[in-house]
Symmetry: C2
Subunit: 142 residues, 2 copies
DNA sequence: ATGGACCTTCCCATGATGGCAAGGTCAAGC
DNA sequence: GCTTGACCTTGCCATCATGGGAAGGTCCAT
């Protein structure tokens, strides 16, 4: 049996988060020693590692709870798990696309900015609402 | 002169956020009517639109404040602006890469899961710490 | 028995946003 | 002029997942 610090080290979840997960019901309450210390065995550490990995894959806590429930239910259908995972893939894809769009817009602005000591800056012009002066097309393949 | 609702509609920033931006010092305090209503003119709306666009490009509020300062300083060097924008591009790229890594891992798991009524699920196996049984390679080009 | 490393709970902060509630104000219609 | 509804004000709470710190108790090795 380990106390919370050891369980944290063994699972990669901070002690702080372990208490939080317990408080919010994501994981069942840990056992306690006579003096009130939480105790963890290998099984609990495995649960914590499960949570850690799911979080690393970007699952929000709510979905992690769903995954944990499926994990515990040995008669679950793999289709149910796959569905959750596919939804998470789609969510990631959406956020990736959003950020790629931001990045592309910003790169466009960056490329049109001289970046020297002069004050003229199409980036600020654009943010300020004035469409930046068109960059003289130097090539069709810019 | 407009009140906060009109300014919100004109700038795309919610009234709530306008008050918040003012409270945190991102934008200067708005003028007030005798009865305490905030008043906004075209100049203020332009500032709000500036903030909105910068946020849409993913800049955190702190960086938006920096951009606003540069915008107000008509003697700024465009290099300073470009530097901020390039840092933001790099930050976006980093987050994109992180999420792409998550997505790739998850897709790998999804592909190895049958997704039928049976309980066997490499996704849960992996999260639980057991390496998933290798998927029988049906083709080199799976 | 003392000190240091651990544990406990509780509160606060983040970043950017939304929501709600209680109360004041304004303008239009009657 | 009065009512009504749409707007404004402030203030507090919630999110989501995490970290920080304080105040106090515990455990173990010296």
């Amino acid at each position: 049996m380990m106390n919370i610090g050891e369980a944290a080290a063994a699972s990669g979840v901070s002690a702080k988060m372990i208490r939080y997960y317990e408080e919010t019901g994501l994981i069942p309450p840990a056992g306690r020693t006579a003096s009130g210390y939480r105790t963890y065995g290998p099984k609990e550490v495995q649960i914590l590692r499960f949570v850690r990995r799911a979080r690393d894959l970007g699952f929000p806590m709510e979905k992690v709870a769903d995954l944990l429930a499926l994990w515990r239910d040995r008669s679950r259908a793999s289709a149910d798990v796959k569905e959750l995972a596919e939804a998470q893939v789609a969510a990631l894809e959406l956020r990736i696309l959003e950020m790629q769009a931001m990045k592309a817009s910003l790169e466009h602005l960056v490329h049109s900015c001289a970046g020297d000591a002069r004050p003229d800056c199409p980036i600020l012009d654009d943010l300020g609402g004035r469409p930046a002066r068109a960059v003289p097309a130097r090539s069709r393949y810019s």
